[in-house]
């Protein structure tokens, strides 16, 4: 029912009451009860207004704080500049290393297949090729600088996200593995380990029961490693 309609109905009821016999004791009791109920309802709605107002103020402040924190993250800067630049640097590293490897291997292959019949000419040829290898190795300086730029960008993003998560009290949600992640998990695609291989060649030889490793591992030994 709309508010104006309610007002009209209340007015109508009041005028009928005025016209009625106010000396009727039952009517007096009803009016007293109605008055008490009205007071109680006013108090209730008054408190509700205050709590609602408080909640809305809290929400407004929270949204403003979130906006400020997201702004501090500078997401557009990360998206438009940081990540694309880092990606381009990594592409350049791949290209630089591939080119250098190609030059080095080409030089090495030409030395290995060179004509050795003329010792003097062969020596000169080998010296030239060794110089080419030295020159090609200069890629390491350039790629080192590129890697540093990428690492700096990643560290910058990491710091911003870390601060945001702390301020907002964000906790990691449980996520389902994507099909690609599931495939990597199933096929044990772990990639190269940091700081060298997790198992050195000697450790692996031991698992294959190499001569230096003593007795071969039994299936039970292998199974035990899974437990």
């Amino acid at each position: 029912m709309a508010a104006p309609e309610v007002v009209l109905r209340v007015k109508d009821a009041l005028s009928r009451l005025k016209d009625a016999d106010l000396k009727d004791p039952r009517l007096g009791e009803v009016l007293t009860l109605a008055s008490q109920m009205s007071d109680a309802m006013m108090a209730f709605f008054g408190s509700m207004d205050n709590s609602l107002y408080g909640e809305l103020r809290y929400l407004s402040a929270y949204i403003q704080r979130t906006r400020a924190e997201i702004s501090a993250l500078r997401p557009n800067d990360i998206k438009n500049d940081g990540i694309p630049t880092a990606g381009a640097e990594l592409d350049a590293i791949v290209a630089n290393t591939a080119e250098a490897t190609h030059r080095i291997m080409e030089a090495a292959e030409s030395v290995m297949s060179a004509d050795t019949s003329d010792a003097h000419a062969y020596q000169a040829f080998v010296c030239d090729k060794m110089l080419e290898i030295f020159e090609a190795c200069s890629f390491q300086d350039i790629t080192g600088q590129r890697v540093k730029k990428v690492v700096d960008t990643l560290r910058h993003i990491e710091n911003r996200i870390d601060r945001f998560a702390k301020v907002m009290g964000v906790e990691d949600a449980e996520v389902q593995l994507s099909p690609e992640e599931q495939r990597k998990k199933d096929l044990l695609l772990n990639g190269p380990a940091l700081n060298g291989p997790e198992n050195k060649q000697d450790d692996i030889d031991a698992m294959f029961g190499g001569e230096d490793a003593g007795a071969a591992m039994s299936q039970d030994d292998l199974d035990a490693l899974f437990d």
Binding site: A98, T101, H102, M105, A108, E109, M112, L187, L188, L189, N190, G191, P192, A193, P197, E198, N199, K200, Q201, I204, M207, F208, G210, L222, L225, F226
Partner: protein
């Protein structure tokens, strides 16, 4: 039994540089007949068309990994006896165990040297 140095060797890796390195090392060891594939699927097609004396495969490749290739080879009666060496940067114990369970003959962790490659080939094919 003497090692057949003319038997074709299939090198499977998605990095041309690594194929080139292994090719050169094999050449130095006396294996001239070397073929290549860039992932497990291409390798499997080649293996079904021609008999190879040895497969040297990387693990981490797309769309078919070296581990999947190994399982396919060992599940195929005709291909089952093919000697298979894994050459990979995957060095976790779970990887080595999975490869051994799947029937790999030997396992080389990258980076490796010529001496290691020779030793592992000799342990699989016999001294040469």
């Amino acid at each position: 039994m003497a090692v057949d140095m003319n038997a074709p060797v299939l090198v499977v890796d998605d990095y041309q540089t690594m194929i080139r390195i292994i090719r050169n090392l094999l050449k130095q060891l006396g294996f001239e007949n070397v073929d290549e594939a860039s992932d497990g699927r291409e390798a499997l097609e080649k293996l079904k068309k021609q008999k190879y004396g040895l497969v040297i495969s990387d693990w981490n490749m797309e769309p078919m990994t070296g581990y999947e290739l190994l399982r396919e080879v060992r599940a195929d009666e005709a291909l089952k006896p093919t000697p298979f060496i894994m050459v990979t940067a995957e060095s976790k114990t779970e990887n080595v165990i999975a490869a051994k369970k799947a029937g790999v003959n030997n396992y080389i962790v990258k980076p490796f040297n010529a001496q290691t490659l020779k030793a592992k080939i000799a342990s699989v094919l016999g001294d040469f």
